[in-house]
Symmetry: C2
Subunit: 344 residues, 2 copies
């Protein structure tokens, strides 16, 4: 089992996803600022994993906080984490959970005891982590029936163990089908600019012995047209109340191409990815990262010196292109708004 992130005696340990697949290196964060830096520079990434990292980071920050400033520090630490990445809603969900727990502790005692709060927040962060892994397994249980023996599944970016507490969302369902003995093949989109497919999904597939082939993102449509893809399965960074999905840039194109070719398009995500306050995809904040990530490839400058680049990290897939959303509580199909409401 891949250890994406863990709490180890008052430190947060995470696998360095920038170093994969060539090196399996672990980073130990002793201060909450180090966890923030790890989220910002993509040492850890993936919507659910970022939420867990924030929860552990907040616990870490409070652990190192003097009793007198604890309350003030807690809120400023939460604010700092909320500024790391704008799109993935699991981050805000995790911060909100930590806030609720913190406030519950305060509410229950007139005189706050530092040790009690620290213990409570550590407990909450670990609970968020465990809950995520359990949720992933449940998505596998619900979703594996959608994959038939002999199927080729196209996936984009990394919605695997590395993007979550462990096991994965889209790759969790693929893992579950594989564990059941189904003969499957995975087409892995390389996922420019940061190559999470080529580096991370390929690494997970290889480790697990799941047959897989790497392709360039722009090949996906052609493979669909040639009848070489049976279904598409991706993760999500935010799901609006109406069922629109924000996910890694390129997801929208895959959804359009899947519909054009009559191929089912599945989104796999925990219910913590659903943002009930965002009505549609049009309201979602979409992160724009540095153009350098586009102008360079793996550290090598590729475009002419001084050239401009756009670098939106996410796009929005309107619900009409989505066949079903697989969550730990069950599978949602159209009309998605109702399904999402019923789940809540």
């Amino acid at each position: 089992m891949i250890k994406t992130i863990s709490w180890d005696r008052g430190t947060v340990v995470m696998i360095d996803q920038k170093a994969l697949p060539h090196e399996e290196r672990y980073v130990t964060c002793r201060k909450y600022e180090e966890v923030i830096a790890a989220i910002n520079d993509m040492t850890i990434r993936g919507a659910p994993a970022v939420g867990i990292a924030a929860a552990m980071g907040i616990a870490l920050g409070v652990l190192n906080s003097p009793e007198k400033q604890m309350k003030e520090n807690f809120y400023s630490i939460c604010d700092a984490f909320s500024r790391t990445r704008p799109t993935a809603v699991n981050l805000f969900w995790a911060i909100d959970r930590m806030k609720s727990r913190f406030e519950k502790e305060f509410a229950s005692t007139p005189h706050i005891k530092a040790d009690t709060v620290k213990k409570a927040l550590t407990e909450e962060a670990l609970y968020i982590h465990e809950k995520d892994i359990r949720a992933n397994r449940q998505m596998g249980v619900h979703g594996k029936h959608l994959i038939e023996d002999g199927n080729t599944i196209l996936t984009h970016c990394n919605a695997g163990a590395l993007a979550t507490g462990g096991y994965g969302t889209a790759l969790g369902v693929i893992r579950a089908a594989h564990e059941e003995g189904k003969k499957i093949h995975v087409l892995v989109d390389e996922t420019r600019p940061l190559l999470q497919g080529a580096r991370l999904t390929a690494w997970e597939m290889k480790n697990e012995g799941i047959p897989a082939t790497l392709i360039i993102d722009s090949m996906a449509g052609s493979f669909m047209k040639r009848g070489m893809v049976d279904l598409v399965m991706v993760g999500a960074d935010r799901i609006a109340a109406n069922g629109d999905v924000a996910n890694k840039i390129g997801t929208y194109s895959l959804a359009v191409l899947a519909r054009e070719n009559g191929i089912p398009f599945y989104v796999v995500a925990p219910i913590s990815t659903i943002d009930h306050h965002t009505r549609t995809g049009n309201e979602m904040p979409l992160e724009e990262r540095s153009g350098e990530e586009v102008l360079e490839f793996h550290g090598t400058q590729i475009a002419p010196e001084g050239f401009n680049a756009h670098n939106p990290s996410f796009d929005v897939t309107p619900k009409r292109y989505i066949t079903a959303i697989i969550t730990e509580k069950g599978i949602i199909t159209a009309p998605f708004g109702k399904g999402i409401k019923d789940l809540a």
Copy 2:
């Protein structure tokens, strides 16, 4: 004016497209085998440019051939060029032209004179080159009206001066609109795996002072959906008699996404790209290059050691997604089969 390829006193000189955009280096081929190697390793690429290189390479081979073996050598050299790359039909068109000229020379004299043949073949190769540049300019004349002041044009791969004798097909039309003083903006798909967009199209746009921004291939669909693309303009490697188009992998996806978003999708190509013997896109041979191009970048391995990759270089866009095909003889619209026939 970019000198993609030229004939210089019995040698073929070409800009090394592998070294661009960082280095403007020229390669001199003194033997036809060097021209073949340059086509194979993509020192020169782009359907029309490859045709010109083959014509010049054949002339070069015959120039260096002893009189006695000239006929035998001529045909074996033609065969060698025809084995370089399977999809772009301009290569076969150019070889056929050289064959016709060669046979015409033989037919007109009972005793072939080596010098006459050499002169004739050199003339023919230079004529093919000049004809291509003139055709590009004409495509510009016909196509520039499709671009309005203020438009943003999305392009894929490099259909520019570097892909042709000079000036370009899709980029030729863009150049013509720019030369007319229209304020335009070009969105440049980077075009994995070999990054012809990031390296070559970006370089051409920068040299010419045409405002342009680099994007990742999988961003194109999202930019279309967000209303940031007014039209798509690409080149072609082979056009079937019915109007189906083979072009750089990723073109099909762009065409589907353009239609989904109500954006015109234009193909710009000389009539030498039309293959009247291929009825539909289903019959076209599509080159599959080494998976290493996908697994590595600039010599750096990106995927895990020993991973598999697919690497088809081209895909087929069915005619139903194409708004118009712009040739030097005019603009073809649906029904394409009739338009193509009328042109011939």
